[in-house]
Amino acid sequence: MTGPDEAGAAVDAAASARRQVEAVWRIESARIVATMTRMVGDFGLAEDFAQEALVDALAQWPRDGVPPNPGAWLTTVAKRRAIDRRRRLERLDDRHATIARSLAEQQRLDATDDDLPWDPDVVDDDVLRLVFTACHPILPRESQIALTLRVVAGLTTEEIARAFALPVSTVQQRIVRAKKTIAAAELPFEVPSRDDFGSRLGSVLTVVYLVFNEGYAASSGSSWLRTDLAAEAIRLARVVCALVPDEPDTHALLALLELQASRFAARVDHDGEPILLADQDRSRWDHGQVRRGRAALARADAIGRGRGAYALQAAIAECHAIAPSTDETDWAQIVALYEALASVAPSPFVDVNRAVAVAMASGAAAGLAVVDEIAAAGALRGHPLVPSVRGELLLRLGRRDEARAELIAAAALTHNEREKAVLLQKADRA
């Protein structure tokens, strides 16, 4: 008879084995799906075979132990699934086209020996193709994100759903639909041509950046998961840097993410309330991460093709990261960086940030003049940002009545209750 202790131990052992399989999957999924896609020539099918191999591993490894070379084991099983399917097709369908296609597939399958270690260069190329496929512009952004996390980062559908506070079925649907879209479009499994490379890489970097922001913004879900998602984005950025080392934007994005994440620990107080940059305990910033971010920015700069939007934002974050306090920050440099950023990526939000930096560098009156220009242009009408910054600057200039009116106006425009309370509190004290 099995006692409760033994049953508990069995459950623990099964859970531990499951975590082991998931760990291997994290490490291997991209290479397996990439290798399988090259073999069978169809990304969706390759992903199915890889997932079937994962299901087999979840059933067998807890019972038989983790094989000595788990990556090769998974690939072999996935390959066997591909061969089974080809044989089934041959039996069911004797049309010439299918056989011709099957033969080509068979040659590719036969050409890869299970026992041989993977040729790292070939696998890297395949993984890069996989990254570009998952982030292909024919897919909607949310599908690019789901697919990248699933096939490149090796997250399970459940993990993705939890991280984005979505129902599992929604994430599942996005992935299924994305695979159908890719199959219907008959996308070639390749690295984009030189003409498209820049924009396609841009799409990849946007996906990584959005994953990070989802973690950074902490709009929903528990904070632990959010930090985890941001860490996953940083890992993805490092992976892309290793795959595309000669593009400045990849290093610049990594720099930006490391530098922003370095402030995680200081960003909220004990009750989870956000702390403004000026009030953060800078000794709590992760200085190892700052160092890694700065090194990545230096790598981007060393490529010598100028600074794009990521590099400029990273450089702004760097100015903050190396300053001992708000007063000792090189605000003039930050103003210059915001000006450069506004020219490569024009946005009224960038302009408002520039106005704040101008206020710090040259005084509140100078900053207010910039904000007034933005207000006159009308791009942010209805948004609380302009009145809240105006209110803050007017307050610094001692124009209390005007400040109070602006802060109340800003409070009326925001939908965020916490932000509204902070603005009204400030208005009260003005």
Binding site: V24, I27, A265, R284, H287
Partner: protein
């Protein structure tokens, strides 16, 4: 979370003068590259032989400094890596892939996080400042 992988040998391994290090260097290079390409490697260093090092023994006051090599040493540390993974199991998986031979061990330890300590302690507070000056990882990031 972060883990330190510490390479150690219980007894010093003697290599002949004409030992061909190329395969060892290649295997280790490939391992390091795989860690880097997976985006998990934060740091790593190899250590020179114990001949160039020394041991400080705190048995007496003041402590006794003994130059290497040291006959009585039980363990020799040869190098380390710091990796960042999402789970302990992932760290185990990476550690198992390290190309080491019989007689060598990898000791793996989780790098401390701030939450592992009493935050009100004065020196824990100060440590944040020291890390700021040194540019080292703040353990709170785990």
């Amino acid at each position: 979370m972060k883990f330190m992988l510490i390479m150690r040998t219980p007894v010093p391994v003697e290599y002949p003068a004409d030992f061909d290090w190329t395969p060892v260097i290649n295997a280790m290079g490939a391992y390091n590259e795989s860690l880097m390409k997976a985006g998990v490697l934060l740091a790593g260093e190899g250590l020179m032989p114990a001949e160039e090092g020394f041991v400080v023994d705190f048995e007496s006051t003041p402590p006794i400094v003994t130059d290497g090599p040291y006959a009585e040493a039980k363990e020799l540390f040869n190098g380390f890596w710091i990796i960042q993974t999402s789970t302990r199991e992932e760290a185990v998986e990476w550690a198992k892939r390290c190309p080491l031979d019989a007689g060598t061990f990898l000791e793996v330890r989780r790098v401390t996080e701030t939450s592992d300590f009493d935050q009100d302690n004065e020196y824990i507070q100060k440590e944040h400042e020291w890390r700021e000056q040194l540019g080292s990882d703040d353990p709170i990031q785990g």
